[in-house]
Symmetry: C2
Subunit: 313 residues, 2 copies
């Protein structure tokens, strides 16, 4: 799909030079990925950049976007001046926060057009090609999102402190809480609580010191250990994973009740946790048609037809 | 009890000047209170100072301790040189953290002796006069503590993130979480969830922005509203307060199972929540013999007999 430099004839160039190109960007907290396609949907190139959760400094985010984009352009043997015929679409973590979107769009950029939406929206666009359906992301955080008859609905996903049920961060936080209960003698200790306590030298004070600096991703690193113990029928592991699955089911059920005909799962914990869901939920889970980068390309294509309300000023 | 300046005769002075005095300090996150008694237990004076959670800057904490102490000395018509015959005891929030205690005791101070322990320990000392018993503090945070046959036991109280069950901060956080569930449609809305949502202009985004800056005391400010709605049988209010009481009961039950014969309650939420406890728990609740400042005086008296392991270096 990626044309070799020699394939691009000088005669063909004038025509190609005016053709629109579509760039789909998937922006996350640790990295930013970009995919370039021509108007026929042919793959031209891909690239990776740095962190691009748009709650970060907009200069950092734009640097990540542009380095991912330049890498995709380089793979397609395109130049800096080709930016102007690129319609870019981006699905970004943090784009649910209006102030963060406005801050990002207050900077200038080289694209012909640039549209941005939440990472949930581009994941849904890719998964259902714009048709009715819902997605459920369960990783460090969690978020449910669905579109039914053009209406968007978010369920959960409002962050670690008061939302993100069933997420890795929630599982990690709850295993620490229950480990302290076991230490206190409020509940019986289990191999899982012993393992956690052992990691902190059997000192709740060490746990509290750790918690003082812990970010959601730090808590989430305990989720695989909890899953592993639940698989071995550890009583505490079972309580925590069954609770996470119950919370995940509550989000999924609400999305289905809103009219979503099917559900796609994303995020590192969705695969292990789906097996803990009840049959009526398992039966509506489908494979996504395409990924979030192709969802972002669809966003960019939609923008060329309808003028984006979020064009940079 | 407080002697008038004229009552202190010049003849009596030499004798009084060598007598030991006992100062009890109750150090909290918002203020520091001190009470001075003579060796016969007569009240000489009291004073109030600034914040003295010992996780704060030690210079701030010492300034608070000394201003509360000087106010107590002034009320007793005593002078700066009387500090040297004062045995001070302090119960302090944060004193469970060894590093914070060491940081505080690395500074010099004017007292004849200075002992420090957790606020839970001095509350227990005051409540049971040093005898077997347990206390349960339920305010912004929560903590259970008991001493049985000389053995100390903490149950809970490891902070907002992974402990402090049943506390005002936990109630406040959970009412925000459930309000988002009601907003999502995961649970039915109630007058309580409507009231909370109304406070944030019906915007979950506004809740998330608020949460980003919220401290435990900020969450705890919603606890009275939750209690009020629970009293009116609001379904969400009932769920949250019954859960807080259940968590409080779990801590209390563990303390009783460890052998504590009775329980004293402290903290602003313990009085409203106690009525939600089951009869077997209500029946073991007793009134404290004395308050935490007198508990701290008892700590200071014990120190004059046994050399404190935590004397300043």
């Amino acid at each position: 799909m990626v044309p070799d430099r020699d394939e691009v004839s000088s005669q063909a160039r004038p025509h190609h030079m005016t053709d629109s190109l579509f760039l789909g960007i998937d922006g996350g907290g640790t990295k930013c990925r970009a995919r370039l396609r021509d108007s026929d949907g042919n793959l031209l190139g891909e690239g990776i950049g740095g962190p691009s959760n748009i709650r970060l400094d907009p200069d950092v985010v734009w640097a990540s976007i542009l380095s991912a984009s330049r890498a995709a352009l380089a793979e397609a043997n395109l130049q800096e001046f080709d930016f102007s015929r690129i319609h870019a679409g981006m699905g970004a973590a943090g784009a649910g926060q209006t102030s963060a979107v406005e801050r990002l769009l207050s900077r200038s950029h080289p694209f012909g057009s640039f549209s941005i939406d939440t990472d949930a929206h581009t994941a849904w666009l890719g998964a259902f090609g714009g048709g009715d359906g819902a997605i459920l992301i369960v990783g460090t955080g969690s978020c449910g999102y669905g579109v039914v008859a053009g209406e968007r609905r978010y369920v959960g996903g409002w962050g670690y402190e008061i939302s993100d049920e069933g997420s890795g961060a929630a599982i990690g936080r709850e295993v620490l809480r229950h480990t302290i209960w076991a230490y206190d003698g409020r509940i019986p200790s289990t191999p899982l609580s012993d393992a956690i306590l052992g990691e902190f030298g059997h000192s709740p004070e060490a746990i509290v010191d750790w918690v003082g600096k812990a970010r959601p991703a730090d808590y989430a690193r305990y989720a695989p250990l909890v899953l592993e113990h639940a698989q071995r029928r550890d009583p505490l592991g079972l309580v925590l994973i069954e609770e996470a699955a119950r919370q995940m089911a509550q989000i999924a059920t609400r999305l289905l009740d809103l009219g979503a005909p099917a559900l796609c799962l994303f995020g590192g914990l969705s695969e292990p946790l789906r097996h803990w869901l009840a049959p009526p939920l398992q039966q509506v889970i489908v494979q996504p048609k395409a990924d979030a980068m192709d969802g972002a390309i669809l966003l960019a294509r939609q923008t060329t037809h309808t003028s984006s309300p979020r064009r940079p000023r």
